[in-house]
Amino acid sequence: MRTHQSDDELMSEVARLVNELDPPPPGLIERAQFAVAIDDIDDIEFEVARWEEHRPLAGVRGGLPGTITFFVGDLTVMVNVTRTGERQRIDGWLVPAGAHGVEIRVADHGSTTTTADEGGRFVLTEVPRGTTQLLVRMNAEQSRTVVTPTVDL
Protein backbone atom coordinates (compact mmCIF):
# COMPACT_ATOMS: atom_id res chain seq x y z
CA MET A 1 0.00 0.00 0.00
CA ARG A 2 2.66 2.48 1.06
CA THR A 3 4.59 1.83 -2.14
CA HIS A 4 2.06 4.04 -3.85
CA GLN A 5 2.41 6.88 -1.39
CA SER A 6 3.02 10.14 -3.25
CA ASP A 7 6.04 12.35 -2.55
CA ASP A 8 3.79 14.83 -0.79
CA GLU A 9 2.22 12.17 1.39
CA LEU A 10 5.59 10.75 2.34
CA MET A 11 6.97 14.23 3.08
CA SER A 12 4.02 15.06 5.29
CA GLU A 13 4.72 11.87 7.28
CA VAL A 14 8.38 12.90 7.57
CA ALA A 15 7.33 16.39 8.65
CA ARG A 16 5.13 14.95 11.37
CA LEU A 17 7.92 12.71 12.66
CA VAL A 18 10.59 15.44 12.57
CA ASN A 19 8.31 17.87 14.38
CA GLU A 20 7.14 15.35 16.97
CA LEU A 21 10.34 13.38 17.57
CA ASP A 22 13.13 15.87 17.10
CA PRO A 23 11.88 19.34 17.95
CA PRO A 24 14.32 21.91 19.33
CA PRO A 25 14.65 21.23 23.08
CA PRO A 26 12.50 23.26 25.47
CA GLY A 27 14.38 26.39 26.53
CA LEU A 28 16.76 26.31 23.53
CA ILE A 29 15.77 29.81 22.46
CA GLU A 30 15.88 31.25 25.98
CA ARG A 31 19.34 29.80 26.59
CA ALA A 32 20.62 31.10 23.25
CA GLN A 33 19.19 34.55 23.99
CA PHE A 34 20.92 34.50 27.38
CA ALA A 35 24.21 33.47 25.72
CA VAL A 36 24.19 36.57 23.50
CA ALA A 37 22.89 38.96 26.19
CA ILE A 38 26.37 39.99 27.28
CA ASP A 39 26.76 43.59 28.45
CA ASP A 40 28.97 45.84 26.36
CA ILE A 41 29.83 43.06 23.97
CA ASP A 42 29.03 45.12 20.88
CA ASP A 43 32.27 47.03 20.91
CA ILE A 44 34.74 44.32 21.74
CA GLU A 45 36.43 41.65 19.75
CA PHE A 46 35.59 38.29 21.23
CA GLU A 47 36.17 34.67 20.39
CA VAL A 48 33.68 31.87 20.84
CA ALA A 49 34.97 28.88 22.79
CA ARG A 50 33.76 25.34 22.22
CA TRP A 51 33.00 22.88 24.94
CA GLU A 52 35.20 19.83 24.70
CA GLU A 53 33.20 17.22 22.82
CA HIS A 54 34.74 14.30 24.60
CA ARG A 55 33.73 15.18 28.13
CA PRO A 56 34.96 12.68 30.69
CA LEU A 57 32.13 13.74 32.96
CA ALA A 58 29.46 14.59 30.47
CA GLY A 59 26.95 13.88 33.22
CA VAL A 60 27.41 17.48 34.31
CA ARG A 61 24.87 18.21 31.63
CA GLY A 62 22.37 16.35 33.70
CA GLY A 63 23.09 18.55 36.69
CA LEU A 64 25.81 16.42 38.28
CA PRO A 65 28.97 18.23 39.35
CA GLY A 66 32.17 17.32 37.59
CA THR A 67 34.91 18.62 35.36
CA ILE A 68 34.28 20.30 32.04
CA THR A 69 36.70 21.76 29.54
CA PHE A 70 36.43 24.38 26.86
CA PHE A 71 38.96 25.66 24.39
CA VAL A 72 39.53 28.23 21.70
CA GLY A 73 42.74 28.62 19.78
CA ASP A 74 45.56 28.08 22.25
CA LEU A 75 43.42 28.75 25.33
CA THR A 76 42.07 25.85 27.36
CA VAL A 77 39.91 26.28 30.42
CA MET A 78 39.15 23.45 32.81
CA VAL A 79 36.36 23.94 35.28
CA ASN A 80 35.54 21.76 38.25
CA VAL A 81 32.16 22.16 39.87
CA THR A 82 31.39 21.15 43.46
CA ARG A 83 27.95 21.41 45.03
CA THR A 84 27.82 23.41 48.25
CA GLY A 85 24.23 23.20 49.39
CA GLU A 86 22.01 25.17 47.05
CA ARG A 87 25.03 26.80 45.48
CA GLN A 88 28.29 25.61 44.08
CA ARG A 89 31.99 26.19 44.09
CA ILE A 90 33.80 26.56 40.79
CA ASP A 91 37.51 25.82 40.56
CA GLY A 92 39.09 26.71 37.27
CA TRP A 93 42.44 26.44 35.56
CA LEU A 94 43.42 28.49 32.53
CA VAL A 95 46.17 27.45 30.13
CA PRO A 96 48.26 29.37 29.16
CA ALA A 97 48.45 30.62 32.73
CA GLY A 98 48.11 34.28 33.62
CA ALA A 99 46.14 36.74 35.68
CA HIS A 100 43.17 36.68 33.34
CA GLY A 101 39.80 38.11 34.27
CA VAL A 102 37.05 35.52 34.66
CA GLU A 103 33.35 36.26 34.68
CA ILE A 104 30.65 33.70 35.34
CA ARG A 105 27.13 34.64 34.25
CA VAL A 106 24.19 32.66 35.59
CA ALA A 107 20.75 33.24 34.09
CA ASP A 108 18.54 35.32 36.43
CA HIS A 109 21.41 35.64 38.91
CA GLY A 110 23.68 38.28 37.43
CA SER A 111 27.38 37.61 37.25
CA THR A 112 30.41 37.02 39.44
CA THR A 113 33.93 38.06 38.51
CA THR A 114 37.37 37.18 39.72
CA THR A 115 40.94 37.19 38.51
CA ALA A 116 43.03 34.09 38.02
CA ASP A 117 46.36 33.89 39.83
CA GLU A 118 49.67 33.82 37.97
CA GLY A 119 49.34 30.05 37.71
CA GLY A 120 46.03 30.48 35.89
CA ARG A 121 43.91 29.15 38.74
CA PHE A 122 40.73 30.74 39.96
CA VAL A 123 38.01 29.94 42.48
CA LEU A 124 34.48 31.22 42.75
CA THR A 125 32.35 30.20 45.69
CA GLU A 126 28.63 30.51 46.34
CA VAL A 127 27.85 30.54 42.63
CA PRO A 128 24.11 30.12 42.00
CA ARG A 129 23.01 27.16 39.92
CA GLY A 130 21.45 27.53 36.51
CA THR A 131 22.25 28.25 32.88
CA THR A 132 25.88 29.32 33.10
CA GLN A 133 28.28 31.07 30.74
CA LEU A 134 31.97 31.84 31.20
CA LEU A 135 33.85 34.84 29.91
CA VAL A 136 37.62 35.07 30.04
CA ARG A 137 39.33 38.40 29.51
CA MET A 138 42.91 37.69 28.62
CA ASN A 139 45.26 39.76 30.70
CA ALA A 140 48.12 40.08 28.26
CA GLU A 141 45.94 41.12 25.38
CA GLN A 142 43.32 43.51 26.64
CA SER A 143 41.26 43.17 23.51
CA ARG A 144 40.96 39.41 23.66
CA THR A 145 37.80 38.14 25.29
CA VAL A 146 36.61 34.56 25.11
CA VAL A 147 32.98 33.56 25.66
CA THR A 148 31.48 30.09 25.94
CA PRO A 149 28.12 28.66 25.02
CA THR A 150 26.04 28.07 28.14
CA VAL A 151 26.08 24.94 30.21
CA ASP A 152 23.42 24.00 32.75
CA LEU A 153 25.12 23.66 36.10
Binding site: Q5, A15, L17, E20, D22, A35, V48
Partner: protein, 200 residues
Protein backbone atom coordinates in the same frame (compact mmCIF):
# COMPACT_ATOMS: atom_id res chain seq x y z
CA UNK B 1 2.38 64.06 17.30
CA UNK B 2 0.90 61.01 18.92
CA UNK B 3 0.95 59.23 15.62
CA UNK B 4 4.54 60.19 15.05
CA UNK B 5 5.52 58.94 18.49
CA UNK B 6 3.76 55.66 17.94
CA UNK B 7 5.44 55.28 14.58
CA UNK B 8 8.86 55.97 16.02
CA UNK B 9 8.28 53.44 18.78
CA UNK B 10 7.14 50.69 16.43
CA UNK B 11 9.92 48.33 15.53
CA UNK B 12 10.84 48.36 11.84
CA UNK B 13 10.19 44.62 11.45
CA UNK B 14 6.68 44.73 12.90
CA UNK B 15 4.08 43.65 10.39
CA UNK B 16 6.70 42.07 8.16
CA UNK B 17 7.26 38.37 7.76
CA UNK B 18 9.73 35.91 6.38
CA UNK B 19 12.85 37.25 4.77
CA UNK B 20 11.73 40.90 4.89
CA UNK B 21 11.18 40.64 8.63
CA UNK B 22 14.56 39.07 9.29
CA UNK B 23 16.35 41.52 7.01
CA UNK B 24 14.74 44.39 8.96
CA UNK B 25 15.86 42.75 12.19
CA UNK B 26 19.39 42.39 10.84
CA UNK B 27 19.57 46.06 9.91
CA UNK B 28 18.28 47.06 13.35
CA UNK B 29 20.66 44.62 15.06
CA UNK B 30 23.59 46.00 13.08
CA UNK B 31 22.59 49.43 14.38
CA UNK B 32 22.84 48.06 17.92
CA UNK B 33 19.23 47.09 18.67
CA UNK B 34 19.65 43.99 20.81
CA UNK B 35 15.91 43.26 20.83
CA UNK B 36 16.13 42.79 17.05
CA UNK B 37 18.85 40.21 17.61
CA UNK B 38 16.62 38.38 20.13
CA UNK B 39 13.85 38.19 17.53
CA UNK B 40 16.27 36.54 15.10
CA UNK B 41 17.39 34.07 17.77
CA UNK B 42 13.78 33.26 18.64
CA UNK B 43 12.60 32.79 15.08
CA UNK B 44 15.61 31.23 13.37
CA UNK B 45 17.02 28.92 16.07
CA UNK B 46 14.82 26.05 14.79
CA UNK B 47 16.54 26.44 11.41
CA UNK B 48 20.00 26.25 12.96
CA UNK B 49 18.87 23.31 15.11
CA UNK B 50 17.67 21.24 12.16
CA UNK B 51 20.76 21.96 10.08
CA UNK B 52 22.94 20.86 13.02
CA UNK B 53 20.86 17.71 13.56
CA UNK B 54 20.78 17.01 9.83
CA UNK B 55 24.57 17.12 9.78
CA UNK B 56 24.97 14.31 12.27
CA UNK B 57 25.21 16.10 15.62
CA UNK B 58 23.54 14.61 18.68
CA UNK B 59 21.04 16.79 20.52
CA UNK B 60 23.54 18.10 23.10
CA UNK B 61 26.14 19.07 20.50
CA UNK B 62 23.42 20.56 18.31
CA UNK B 63 22.36 22.86 21.13
CA UNK B 64 25.97 23.98 21.66
CA UNK B 65 26.22 24.71 17.97
CA UNK B 66 23.03 26.77 18.01
CA UNK B 67 24.64 29.04 20.60
CA UNK B 68 28.02 29.06 18.87
CA UNK B 69 26.38 30.16 15.62
CA UNK B 70 24.47 33.01 17.29
CA UNK B 71 27.58 34.17 19.12
CA UNK B 72 29.43 34.06 15.79
CA UNK B 73 26.71 36.18 14.19
CA UNK B 74 26.91 38.67 17.05
CA UNK B 75 30.67 38.74 16.59
CA UNK B 76 30.57 39.24 12.83
CA UNK B 77 27.33 41.14 12.50
CA UNK B 78 28.91 44.06 10.69
CA UNK B 79 30.47 41.79 8.12
CA UNK B 80 27.14 40.60 6.77
CA UNK B 81 26.67 43.25 4.15
CA UNK B 82 23.54 41.64 2.71
CA UNK B 83 20.89 41.36 5.45
CA UNK B 84 18.62 39.32 3.21
CA UNK B 85 21.25 36.61 2.99
CA UNK B 86 20.98 35.78 6.71
CA UNK B 87 19.25 32.39 6.34
CA UNK B 88 21.93 31.25 3.90
CA UNK B 89 24.67 32.51 6.20
CA UNK B 90 23.17 30.62 9.14
CA UNK B 91 22.91 27.39 7.15
CA UNK B 92 26.51 27.63 5.90
CA UNK B 93 27.94 28.58 9.29
CA UNK B 94 26.04 25.78 11.04
CA UNK B 95 27.27 23.17 8.56
CA UNK B 96 30.86 24.34 9.02
CA UNK B 97 30.53 24.29 12.80
CA UNK B 98 28.96 20.80 12.72
CA UNK B 99 31.89 19.51 10.66
CA UNK B 100 34.30 21.08 13.14
CA UNK B 101 32.58 19.40 16.09
CA UNK B 102 32.50 16.01 14.36
CA UNK B 103 36.12 16.27 13.28
CA UNK B 104 37.18 17.06 16.81
CA UNK B 105 35.15 14.12 18.11
CA UNK B 106 36.74 11.88 15.49
CA UNK B 107 40.13 12.58 17.05
CA UNK B 108 39.12 9.95 19.60
CA UNK B 109 36.75 7.82 17.60
CA UNK B 110 36.68 6.76 13.97
CA UNK B 111 34.22 9.20 12.42
CA UNK B 112 32.09 6.89 10.36
CA UNK B 113 31.98 4.36 13.16
CA UNK B 114 30.92 6.97 15.64
CA UNK B 115 28.20 8.31 13.43
CA UNK B 116 26.93 4.84 12.76
CA UNK B 117 26.87 4.13 16.47
CA UNK B 118 25.17 7.40 17.19
CA UNK B 119 22.49 6.69 14.63
CA UNK B 120 21.91 3.27 16.11
CA UNK B 121 21.91 4.29 19.73
CA UNK B 122 20.74 7.86 20.16
CA UNK B 123 18.42 8.10 17.15
CA UNK B 124 15.63 7.36 17.50
CA UNK B 125 15.62 7.57 21.26
CA UNK B 126 14.70 8.57 23.93
CA UNK B 127 11.67 9.74 22.03
CA UNK B 128 11.27 6.16 20.99
CA UNK B 129 8.09 5.57 22.93
CA UNK B 130 6.39 8.46 21.18
CA UNK B 131 6.50 6.58 17.91
CA UNK B 132 2.88 5.80 17.27
CA UNK B 133 3.15 2.52 15.52
CA UNK B 134 5.40 0.21 13.63
CA UNK B 135 5.09 2.21 10.42
CA UNK B 136 6.30 5.37 12.17
CA UNK B 137 9.21 3.45 13.59
CA UNK B 138 10.17 2.08 10.21
CA UNK B 139 9.93 5.46 8.53
CA UNK B 140 11.98 7.18 11.27
CA UNK B 141 14.61 4.42 11.07
CA UNK B 142 14.68 4.73 7.28
CA UNK B 143 15.07 8.50 7.57
CA UNK B 144 18.19 8.03 9.70
CA UNK B 145 19.68 5.64 7.16
CA UNK B 146 19.65 8.39 4.52
CA UNK B 147 22.86 10.25 3.75
CA UNK B 148 23.36 13.35 5.89
CA UNK B 149 22.91 15.48 2.82
CA UNK B 150 19.45 13.99 2.32
CA UNK B 151 18.55 14.18 6.00
CA UNK B 152 19.46 17.85 6.09
CA UNK B 153 17.65 18.58 2.85
CA UNK B 154 14.45 16.86 3.97
CA UNK B 155 14.55 18.59 7.37
CA UNK B 156 14.95 21.92 5.60
CA UNK B 157 12.11 20.99 3.26
CA UNK B 158 9.92 20.41 6.30
CA UNK B 159 10.88 23.83 7.69
CA UNK B 160 10.55 25.59 4.36
CA UNK B 161 6.99 24.32 4.10
CA UNK B 162 6.04 26.65 6.97
CA UNK B 163 5.20 30.21 6.05
CA UNK B 164 7.63 31.78 8.50
CA UNK B 165 10.54 29.94 6.90
CA UNK B 166 9.97 31.04 3.34
CA UNK B 167 13.46 32.58 3.49
CA UNK B 168 14.86 29.08 3.88
CA UNK B 169 13.26 27.99 0.63
CA UNK B 170 14.66 31.09 -1.03
CA UNK B 171 18.14 30.53 0.40
CA UNK B 172 18.09 26.99 -0.95
CA UNK B 173 16.45 27.98 -4.23
CA UNK B 174 13.43 25.83 -3.54
CA UNK B 175 10.46 27.30 -5.38
CA UNK B 176 7.35 26.90 -3.25
CA UNK B 177 5.47 23.69 -3.89
CA UNK B 178 8.07 22.14 -6.13
CA UNK B 179 10.40 19.27 -5.43
CA UNK B 180 13.76 19.66 -7.14
CA UNK B 181 15.73 16.75 -8.56
CA UNK B 182 17.97 16.35 -5.50
CA UNK B 183 15.03 16.31 -3.13
CA UNK B 184 13.27 13.93 -5.46
CA UNK B 185 16.19 11.54 -5.24
CA UNK B 186 16.27 11.84 -1.43
CA UNK B 187 12.55 11.09 -1.23
CA UNK B 188 12.97 8.10 -3.54
CA UNK B 189 15.85 6.83 -1.41
CA UNK B 190 13.71 7.24 1.68
CA UNK B 191 10.84 5.37 0.07
CA UNK B 192 13.17 2.54 -0.95
CA UNK B 193 14.61 2.24 2.57
CA UNK B 194 11.15 2.44 4.10
CA UNK B 195 9.67 -0.20 1.83
CA UNK B 196 12.78 -2.37 1.96
CA UNK B 197 12.60 -2.46 5.74
CA UNK B 198 9.10 -3.82 5.81
CA UNK B 199 9.78 -6.38 3.13
CA UNK B 200 6.71 -5.32 1.18
Amino acid sequence: MTELQTASMAKPWEGLDGRDRHAACMIAAQAGDRSAFYVLVAELSPLVWHVARGNGLDRTSAEDVVQTVWLALLRHIDRLSEPRALAGWLITTTRREAVRVLQRASGQVELSGEIAERLQTTDPSPEHEVLRDERDQQLWAAFHKLTQRCQELLRLTVLAGRAEYRAVAEALHMPHGSIGPTRGRCINNLRALYNGDSGS
